[in-house]
């Protein structure tokens, strides 16, 4: 970077902890796009940052909590949703957002995801799905496509992948959307919607990991991965999430669920109020 570029003010600077830069993410990684869209969503909604808590688990994307200029907690691998549940219920006026990886949220933390969705805890979950365990150097995980090469599927992956939007919808989430890191406008809109909705909201972001995933799967660069997103993605708002499996030729994106249901916090408040008046 030139000196002049370094001196330029980033439009979302106030959302970032500048002293933490440079970040740890590789060149071409989609995580920066997710951070950008998240900042833009907060900005456009004019949300008071003092009321936002960002909770993450462990992984490359997990480092995001250290970069946002809000109260933030980098928990243990798999536990951000359970931690966020406690924070939200203890202080309902907070906007609690979990941003974490596919491995963190759906392998080691899968149980917390389905139960938080079932309870309809009022937290927002953004998953960076890069099809792989990035932080540990590229092992397969619950979203790795069949036949993909990873360091622990040296003969090709033989496990079926989770369809995250289907899982979220079936578990009871009130808002479910999927976009790729290429769909920055629509992704930002979905994050905004999730932030405004009452209840468990889930946004999946298909994100490129050229360094650790793409390179070994015939997509050498970020551009080639994003080209795949562009060619394969098909916007189908409110289509059946059960039919939204990701394949090499098709990534169905869009909003899948947007329903109203009282959140756990609301039912809890109502129960307490009833106890007070009895």
């Amino acid at each position: 970077m030139t000196k002049k570029q370094l001196e330029m003010k980033h439009p979302y600077e106030r959302f970032l902890r500048k002293e933490r830069m440079p970040h740890i993410w590789c060149e071409g990684c989609g995580n920066g796009i997710i951070l950008n869209c998240f900042a833009r969503a907060l900005d456009e909604l004019d949300i008071d940052l003092n009321n936002v808590v960002v909770v993450s688990g462990i992984g490359c994307i997990g480092r995001i909590s250290g970069y946002v200029n809000a109260d933030s907690f980098h928990t243990t691998h798999g536990r951000p949703i359970a931690f966020a549940t406690g924070a939200k219920l203890a202080k309902p006026e907070l906007k609690v957002v979990v941003i974490s990886g596919d491995g963190d949220l759906f392998a080691i933390g899968g149980n917390h995801f389905i139960h938080a969705a079932r309870r309809n805890v009022d937290i927002k979950v953004i998953c960076a799905n890069n099809f792989v365990y990035g932080m540990t150097g590229g092992q397969y995980g619950p979203t790795t496509p069949l036949e993909a090469w990873t360091t622990t599927t040296p003969y090709g992956n033989i496990e079926q992948a989770f369809n995250l939007v289907h899982l979220a919808a079936a578990s009871g989430a009130v808002y479910v959307a999927r976009w790729t890191a290429l769909h920055v406008r629509r992704l930002t809109e979905s994050i905004k919607k999730a932030l405004q909705k009452e209840g468990f909201s889930f946004v999946e972001v298909i994100s490129q990991c050229p360094e650790i995933y793409g390179r070994h799967n015939k997509m050498k660069t970020a551009i080639s991965m994003m080209k795949w997103f562009k060619e394969a993605s098909e916007v189908r708002n409110f289509s059946d999430p059960a039919k939204a499996d990701i394949s090499p030729s098709r990534i169905i994106v869009g909003e899948f669920v947007d329903v109203e249901k009282p959140s756990y916090g609301r039912l809890l408040r109502e129960m307490k109020a009833k106890l007070q008046t009895e």
Partner: protein, 385 residues
Amino acid sequence: METKNKAMLSGQHFMNGDVACAEGAIAVGCRFFAGYPITPATEIAERMARRLPQVSGVYIQMEDELASIAAVLGASNAGTKAMTATSGPGFSLMMENIGLAVMTETPCVIVDIMRGGPSTGQPTMPGQQDVMQARWGSHGDYEIIALTPSSVQEMFDLTIEAFNLSETYRVPTFLLADEIIGHMWERVNIPSAKSIKVVNRKKPVTPPSEYGPFKPDEDLVPPMACFGEGYRFHATGLTHDEYGRPKTDSAEVQQDLVQRLCEKIRRNSDKIVKVDRVLLEDAEVAVVAYGIASRAALSAVRKARAQGIKAGLLRLVTVWPFPDKQVEEVAQKVKALVVPEMNYGQIVREVRRVAKETPVIFLSKLGEEPHKPLEILDALGEFRK
């Protein structure tokens, strides 16, 4: 027992240890409980489920103990006093996030009503088999505080104490009881709300721009900001500097952090440690015991005295940090120490470490029955003149 809409009970009550623990927590201001049912700790959860909504608190039954402890840490960082209660199998599941509590200096209370282990072991039988796990169960070097109630009254009193210590030192604090103390019914004297000592975590006095969430005061404990208070702090389980910034390759930061996390407890151990001394003045032989085993020990010591044996009892109310000084002081005066425990030898290792030359007789007990006073008396009998 009518409890509706009462922030706190007061006066005399007849209750079991698990219920007394829940009432102690409510009395000291605990307003969040996350747990998963397990014998013999379930009654704590049941009591909290009924009581917390009455005092505008939150009870949530999580999907497992991994989630329970994580939710407790979330609630505590949001500014609420929080606890969980479990037994061996659940305690094992909590270990990783107990380390996160240590590392992020999150106050919380973890109650372990111990049963027989290893594994599923004997769910309805007492044990004292988790005392070493409480001390060392999570990876890395650290210090925690653990209290060992020996009566239903102490289930109430020491739960309060556990919260106060946890808030003072920003450290996970354990209440280690066992199936008998948890399920036993006794009379409990609950003082008025005013006379209960309540300690709250110290808050930052510096403005947010200067605040370091892990920048300690002289007592080595950093003031604690919570979510939504405008400090916009970051906390991580990674090794971090005083501002919460990850420092994963600095030997110096690792050294300073681990040292401080340990020293904030070690250096304050005189203020933390509590023991109960019975008939030790002229004792020639002493029993060192804690929790359920200390009840038979007390009876054995009285019987021994009646037989002319100069016996005394050092009851450990705090097991971690270990009362080195207090045990050593007794060890130097007596001919031998007797240590009864409902395990295969845990705290006795610590006693031997500090007793040095003084012989230590260990009385192990596993399974249904606690030690009988006569079994302990037998050991003391060898010191009859």
